[in-house]
């Protein structure tokens, strides 16, 4: 599905079905340098299990038009506006990594747009390794490689893709390599600069946080710090799983989403 937001096309994957406006809307937000397809193992499932599932390409990402937005706050304002354009709000927000920061900010700045948030690979701060930031700034393939390398748990580096024939490591790297020049750097810089401040205290909606024991990008310790500040929060642990959890263990994330969203 395509909508217009601020005069640019927004591409939204809806699981191959037309969005049913009577169903509860779920907006899925991808992480830095990625796009809607990180949710391909969840979108279609949710769409066939009672939700209006909408995996969004943020501006300048995937097939959406426009330029990538320079800060988490601006991304959050844009998401709230996009939800208004879709005309289905308030929505459940599911965010991964940078998408989890955006979800936090949407919940704090635009509470009327949000029903609940589910955060995967989340932390209150996301400092980015200077070598990664540098490689991204120079649009080097090292940036996709480092994100892929650190983004997957040990098991995901060897095997375990439940979709026959797909190889996770190159899947992630290819996805990032497809980003336009400057996009990965824009997003990583936005994550790096993000300061949560009192965001936790300003969130009223219920929150589910999912943490992988082998997450090197938003390690369990960082997730705990975020969770400590939240009030209505449900924390789920995934053993042996890294940052790219919805790709590493799509079955468990599907179950968990159904559970959290009902």
């Amino acid at each position: 599905m395509n909508i217009e937001c601020r005069g640019e096309t927004v591409n939204i994957a809806t699981g191959g079905v037309e969005v049913d406006r009577d169903l509860p809307p779920v907006v899925l937000l991808h992480g830095a340098g990625m796009d809607r397809t990180v949710w391909s193992q969840q979108t279609r499932y949710l769409a066939h299990h009672g939700f209006a599932a909408m995996a969004v390409d943020l501006p300048g990402h995937g097939e959406s038009g426009g330029e990538p937005l320079p800060s988490i706050a601006e991304m959050a304002d844009w998401v709230a506006e996009a939800i208004t354009e879709i005309g289905l709000g308030p929505a459940h927000l599911v965010g991964h990594s940078m998408g989890s920061l955006i979800s936090l900010e949407v919940a704090a700045r635009h509470p009327e747009a949000v029903e609940r948030i589910v955060l995967l690979g989340a932390a209150a701060a996301m400092p980015v390794h200077p070598d990664l930031l540098g490689a991204a700034e120079r649009n080097e393939v090292l940036a996709p490689q480092l994100i892929t390398s650190w983004g997957h748990g040990t098991r995901a580096h060897i095997a375990g893709n439940p979709t026959p024939g797909l190889w996770m490591r190159s899947g992630c790297q290819a996805l990032l390599e497809r980003a336009n020049d400057g996009v990965i750097f824009n997003d990583l810089a936005a994550c790096n600069a993000y300061e949560a401040g009192d965001v936790a205290a300003r969130i009223a909606c219920p929150i589910t946080v999912v943490v992988g024991s082998e997450d090197k990008m938003t390690p369990p310790r960082a997730t705990s710090q975020l969770v400590a500040g939240l009030s209505d929060v449900d924390l789920k642990h995934l053993d042996g799983v890294g940052h790219m959890m919805m790709i590493e263990v799509p079955d468990r994330i599907r179950e968990l989403l159904l559970d959290a969203l009902h």
Binding site: G15, G16, G62, H129, A159, G165, L166
Partner: protein
């Protein structure tokens, strides 16, 4: 500067795609000799058929043993996914049929395997897909053969039988300037000698029958999806960018993005054409892949010895292998194939066709058969076998003279290979 912590090639050859079997602990990949898989319940069954969730349904579409081989080859190539097929020919067909329809056009190197040449030249036109063959070394020929109907550029990483080295970065650039993908047949190089996706190719196919399997015991093919090509960037690839009624209007590019080709090739191509790899073949081929780096290294070393011998041999008029200084792609090979330009070479025998026949009949260690990439040394006279369907004109265009002998250098002790060749060469000259 930090480096990505990626498992290395040799490790991936042994491990990628497999975890010890969760129910039995089996360390080796089990042969899941089954046609079908029990559903958990009707809900899960419906989800599987509707691509809502992944899993095995029926072995024509996927099988756990085959899936290990697929994931492993994808890992070695650096592809986002792979689909195994019953043979190399089936792999070519699967890729072609997934991205093209009647009315479309291919630009292909003229120096390719005779079987693929036949398919493109004679068979595919019956289904409305035509091909223009070009000299793979001539970038202008590639450019000017592209028409508005072209959907694919195709060549072998090492050509047949002149062992032309494909300048992948250059031909990929020509393809991409025209919004088209480049597919390469990397059978002769394997991911050990060259990683075509890193060089710019979009789709890699193999006859796994050959070096990947490595022992001449099982047929197989694979299509590897590079995942970098944007199928939705123009309207040339509706099978990937438009809704498909076969799965309730799914658009593979929209849903799976960089994995669209792998998903559609399986969901449609394996389902409908049915050229699936058998689980037992996948098991046999996996044993080969485990030792691929060791074998390829030795194949290349033995080839170096054999080339040195042939260059000095009296009855040999010419030797064609990129390691030879006079080979037109000698410099390109150094750049693109630093670990070696494979174990297949051709040479001309003094005395032409008859001497060629006598040579073939007098080798004793080397086997006279129509295959390459076995652990054992193989010899062939293409003009009378693989390329015999080609007209005299096509033979010349494909660079197959009547004096041409093709050699696939095996893993025997190089001294034994050389003495066998030496004996047969002597016999060939006693006409």
């Amino acid at each position: 500067m930090v480096d990505p912590e990626y498992l290395k090639f040799d490790t991936l050859s042994l491990h990628a795609g497999q975890e010890p079997d969760p129910t039995t602990g089996s360390r080796a990949v089990p042969i899941y000799q089954t046609t079908s898989y029990s559903f958990v319940d009707t809900e899960q069954a419906a989800g599987l058929f509707n691509l809502e969730q992944p899993g095995h349904i029926y072995s024509r579409i996927s099988n756990p043993t085959v899936a290990v081989l697929e994931e492993r080859i994808a890992a070695l190539e650096g592809g986002v996914g792979a689909v195994c097929t019953a043979s190399g020919m089936a792999a070519f067909h699967l890729a072609a049929a997934t991205i093209m329809s009647a009315g479309n056009h291919v630009v292909a190197s003229r120096n390719i395997y005779g079987g693929t040449h036949n398919m493109l030249n004679l068979t595919m036109p019956r289904f409305g897909i035509t091909t223009t063959f070009v000299d793979p070394r001539d970038p202008e020929a590639w450019r000017s053969a592209i028409t508005p109907e072209t959907r694919l550029l195709f060549a072998e990483t090492l050509g047949n039988p002149g062992i032309e080295v494909l300048d992948i970065p250059l031909i990929a650039q020509i393809a991409h300037e025209n919004g088209l993908p480049l597919m390469v047949d990397a059978t002769f190089t394997t991911p050990y000698l060259m990683k075509p996706i890193d060089l710019g190719a979009d789709i890699v196919m193999h006859s796994v029958t050959k070096f990947l399997g490595g022992h001449g015991i099982a047929l197989g093919g694979v299509v590897v999806d590079g995942g970098r090509f944007d199928w939705a960037a123009n309207d040339k690839f509706p099978t990937l960018s438009q809704p498909y009624d076969g799965y309730h209007g799914i658009s593979f590019a929209d849903e799976y993005g960089h994995q669209a080709l792998s998903m559609r090739a399986r969901a449609e191509g394996l389902r409908d054409f049915g050229a699936a790899m058998s689980p037992t073949n996948a098991f046999h081929l996996l044993q080969g892949v485990e030792t691929l780096p060791l074998r390829m290294k030795r194949h290349v070393e033995n080839t170096t010895s054999v080339v040195e011998f042939l260059e000095e041999a009296d009855a040999v008029t010419w030797v064609s292998h990129p390691s030879v200084a006079t080979h037109p792609d000698h410099e390109l090979a150094k750049q693109l194939l630093p670990k070696g330009a494979g174990a297949i070479l051709s040479f001309g025998i003094a005395g032409g066709r008859e001497a060629g026949c006598r040579f073939i009949e007098n080798v004793q260690l080397a086997s006279h058969l129509a295959n390459v990439g076995d652990a054992k040394t193989l010899v062939l006279h293409p003009a009378s076998t693989t390329h015999q369907q080609l007209s005299a004109e096509d033979l010349v265009a494909a660079g197959v003279g009547e004096d041409l002998i093709r050699l696939s250098v095996g893993l025997e002790d190089p001294e034994d290979i050389i003495s066998d060749l030496s004996r047969a060469l002597r016999a060939s000259q006693k006409g």
